[in-house]
């Protein structure tokens, strides 16, 4: 049809026609070529990652850092455990000593306040004192009088919290009003309160002596182990530094040699070669290090054994009887359960330590595993960088699921309403308004998330009547749920339009047939139209998912950017934790890394995976539509 019309109306030569044709074809091919170039570029930058990361992991192993981590990783839990014991102690102490402390603090606060109020008079008084005796005699009585009046006024004016009894308040005012330097009356009440606090504190601590001891035991238990370990760590770090230096020099030398080979001028060539020779470095000899590791291995194993025995012992003798507060109880019980696990994890490291070999090769498989299943994304570390993909993937996926779970019912229901129930006039404004959401720049939505939705969520979560919701009250304003809400808003227009199209595509013949069989409008909608449009709506959801996973600005601003696998122990409440995402990490870090480094390449790998995910989601959506395509009416 089209070609015939072009031919009919365009009476140019065959050449012109061919030019026009190739102009159109050119536009299509430019797009395809650009796409291919993007893929090529991504792959080129990312492909080096496996090699670089492998080299880094090899250094990590050869220099003994891995050996240290075998112990260090499980040992990290010890601080958490001690911390929760300390929290149990402080929350148990609080009700016993809180009052006494508050009383003392109130008295001290009042003294400071009176001091501040009388500052000027005090300074005048001090100046008068500093004067030569003759002048002082004249000025001093005046200043003393002024100061005394000011003190009286101030101590009468300060507001005393009801935590101090009326008598104490009166005493305190009296004592504070007589604080003229040089002739101070002792502040008896403050001293008394302080003494009382110390007594109460001592008594309370005595009641929880067992717990106190347990904390001290746990804190001191790994001292020997840590000492040996830090010795090892220092050695390892020094070795790593040497290895890195050697690698950098070697790389520079290779570059110089290459330049020399390409140089035309023999003089320049000689200079380059000389320079290369100068930067020659011997690969560091690690045999000494390895000997030291071997030497320290058995002492380390002994320390581990001793430490885990102590931990096990402690787990059996946690002084539960003293604790009464429910939250302290819970903390203590959790710790009691965690301690044997911790000891077991420590013991499990022993065989690993024994099997560990510095020169074991790092397989490509394990490099891939370290990337795709790595649980740590750790960069600019003084110890070792890790590029583990899981924290980012989990953040992206959870946020996308939240967004889709919210956007799907909304957009599908809106599409059904708009397509089936709305009057033509309603339809005329509903559709453009929903589609307008797309026009909101994502950075503006990010704003709304930070300034409005975040505060709103936090305030809501503190309402006592909503405390049954898991995860409430929330700790972070910026979290995955917040980001998910905004992304849902962004996905709605796409999903709404596509779902509406799907409903529109249901052949009129089905609707006629259903109505001719005596169906009501609702029956027709839910038994014929919606089922027939289901595949189209599924595709709409998938394309919405693609949009949500690829979105960057909102998640960067609103998701909270904490790089860690969320803690699923809180079931659904996990959504109120902050997270980082695949897209966010690229946007945030790409500008700050040196080109070509492992970190740079890792970000490109993330880009490639992101690209693959989007591609897969799109392909799925297309397949879904094709698989369930309705007969053409």
């Amino acid at each position: 049809m089209l070609t015939r019309r072009v031919r009919g109306s365009w009476r140019g030569s065959a050449l012109t026609q061919r030019l026009i044709r190739s102009g159109f074809a050119g536009s299509a091919s430019v797009t395809i070529i650009v796409l291919a170039l993007i893929m090529l570029f991504l792959l080129r930058e990312g492909a080096g990652f496996l090699g670089t990361y492998r080299r880094e992991l090899e250094t990590y192993r050869r220099c003994g850092l891995e050996f240290c981590d075998l112990v260090d990783r499980p040992l990290a839990q010890q601080e958490d455990l001690a911390g929760s014991l300390r929290r149990a102690l402080s929350s148990s102490l609080e009700p016993l000593i809180g009052q006494a402390r508050a009383r003392r603090d109130e008295a001290l606060r009042l003294k400071r306040e009176v001091d501040q109020l009388t500052q000027t008079q005090r300074e005048v008084f001090e100046q008068a004192q500093a004067l030569p005796a003759a002048q002082a005699a004249a000025a001093l009585p005046e200043a003393t009088k002024a100061l005394s009046a000011a003190l009286k006024a101030a101590s009468a004016a300060v507001v005393i919290a009801p935590i101090l009894s009326a008598k104490q308040a009166t005493d305190l005012r009296l004592q504070l009003s007589t604080q003229i330097p040089g002739k101070e009356q002792p502040l008896a009440l403050i001293n008394q309160l302080q003494q009382e606090f110390l007594r109460v504190d001592k008594e309370a601590k005595a009641r929880f002596e067992g717990l106190q001891e347990a904390i001290e035991t746990l804190e001191e238990a790994p001292e020997d182990l840590r000492e040996t370990l830090s010795e090892l760590k220092e050695l390892a770090l020094a070795a790593k530094e040497q290895a890195t230096l050697h690698h950098t020099l070697e790389e520079g030398r290779q570059k110089l040699l290459n330049a020399a080979q390409n140089a035309r001028d023999p003089k320049e060539k000689a200079a380059l070669l000389k320079e290369a020779e100068a930067s020659h470095s011997e690969p560091p000899d690690e045999s000494a290090l390895q000997a030291q590791i071997a030497e320290l291995r058995e002492p380390l194993v002994l320390h581990i054994g001793a430490y885990s025995a102590k931990v096990d012992q402690l787990a059996l003798h946690l002084p539960e009887a003293e604790i009464q507060l429910p939250e302290a109880m819970e903390l203590l019980q959790k710790t009691a359960q965690a301690l044997p696990r911790h000891a077991a994890a420590m013991r499990a490291s022993v065989p690993e330590l024994r099997q560990w070999k510095a020169d074991a090769p790092v397989h490509l498989r394990s490099v891939l595993g370290a990337f795709f299943f790595g649980t740590q994304w750790l960069t600019n570390s003084s110890w070792q960088d890790f590029f583990g993909f899981l924290p980012l993937l989990s953040g992206s996926l959870i946020i996308a699921l939240i967004a889709i779970a919210m956007a799907t019912p909304l957009s599908v229901a809106a599409a059904i309403y708009c397509n089936q129930f709305a009057s033509p006039r309603e339809r005329e404004w509903i559709k453009p308004v929903i589609e307008f959401i797309q026009a909101i720049p994502s950075v503006v939505l990010g704003f709304i998330g930070i300034s409005l939705l975040g505060d709103l969520l936090k305030d809501l979560s503190q309402l006592p009547m909503l405390s049954w919701i898991p995860g409430f009250p929330i700790a972070e304003r910026l979290n995955m749920f917040n980001a998910g809400c905004l992304l849902a808003l962004m996905a709605i227009p796409t999903m709404f339009s596509l779902a509406e199209d799907a409903l529109n595509n249901v052949p009129q013949a089905y609707i006629d047939a259903s109505e001719a069989l005596g169906a009501t409008q609702l029956q027709t909608i839910f038994r014929v139209i919606v089922p027939a449009a289901l595949s189209g709506m599924g595709a709409a959801v998938l394309l919405g998912l693609g949009r949500v996973i690829g979105e960057t600005m909102v998640v960067l601003l609103v998701a909270g950017n904490r790089i860690a696998i969320p803690d699923f122990s809180d079931s659904v409440g996990v959504v109120f934790q902050p997270a980082h995402t695949l897209t966010g990490i690229i946007a945030q870090e790409l500008g700050e890394v040196s080109r070509g480094s492992a970190h740079w390449q890792a970000l490109f790998m993330v880009g490639i995976v992101l690209f693959a995910i989007s591609l897969a989601v799109n392909a799925m959506a297309r397949a879904m539509v094709r698989r369930f395509e309705l007969p053409k009416s």
Partner: protein, 261 residues
């Protein structure tokens, strides 16, 4: 005419009186008067755009949802009930007046589900009752033997003729009193057409058929009575033999002999 109405209620089962119909401002039917007999096959013939489909679709009010479509004047009574009376339940009307469309349109579900769709709409959930109705309807539509072993297959896996017979089964499952057919064989090949025609002939004493057709041979073969419409007006109605053999109006004669376009 008034006489025959009073003496034989069957002859005036569906009674169209001075019926005019319009889509918005375009009037497409002008003062139609037509009696459709009980348990007879009535064919509506006429050139494209003459309003025969509109008349057919007015009988079960399927055009109600089309923007602006409404009768202008006159009435249609079925068995004495004015179907355009506001008190009439359209859903009940459509259960009593089944319809089969030009292009077979089974739902994209199983053969079984298609057959019992109308019954499910009516709220019947008893499996035994549905099974029995499905079998009976498929037998009535002469489809049972072909599909009894694959009731759970998609209806769209059937051939075109089978799909159209499935649509007939779906319509008769509700035991309507009237079956409206809008060119039921237009999308079918001659063999499938012959089977549908046989089927309609077998069912003639169970339902009152109104069939719109372009195919004059089909009208001649199938129908007991024929009505000829031209430009929204009823030109002539009568026994099929008379209309084709001895038409009273010159227009009718021109049309049935193929000289009127």
């Amino acid at each position: 005419m008034p006489d025959s109405r009073s003496t034989d209620p069957d002859a005036d089962f569906i009674s169209v009186r001075d019926f005019s119909y319009a889509y918005g401002s375009t009037q497409v039917l002008h003062g139609i008067n037509l009696s459709i007999h009980r348990r007879r096959i009535t064919a509506l013939i006429g050139p494209s755009g003459c309003g025969k489909s509109t008349l057919l679709r007015a009988i079960n009010r399927i055009n109600d949802l089309v923007e602006g479509a409404a009768p202008v004047s006159g009435s249609i009574h079925i068995d004495g009930v004015n179907i355009y009376d506001p008190a009439v339940d359209v859903i009940a009307l459509r259960r009593n007046v089944g319809m089969v469309f030009q292009k077979y349109n089974p739902f994209p579900r199983s053969i079984y589900e298609n057959t019992v769709y109308g019954l499910r709409l009516a709220g019947i959930t008893d499996r035994a009752q549905l099974d029995e109705a499905a079998e009976q309807s498929l037998r009535l539509a002469a489809l049972w033997d072909e599909v009894k072993d694959r009731l759970d297959e998609m209806a769209t896996s059937l051939s075109g003729g089978q799909q159209q017979r499935l649509c007939i089964a779906r319509a008769v499952a509700l035991r309507p009193r009237v079956l409206l057919m809008d060119e039921p064989c237009a999308a079918l090949d001659p063999i499938a057409t012959a089977r549908i025609e046989d089927l309609i002939a077998q069912l003639r004493d169970r339902f009152s058929f109104v069939i719109v057709t372009h195919n004059m041979e089909q009208a001649k073969r199938l129908s007991d009575r024929t009505a000829f419409l031209y430009r929204g007006k009823l030109i002539e109605e009568g026994d099929t033999l008379d209309i084709f053999g001895n038409p009273a109006q010159p227009l009718t004669e021109q049309y049935v002999t193929g000289r009127l376009v």
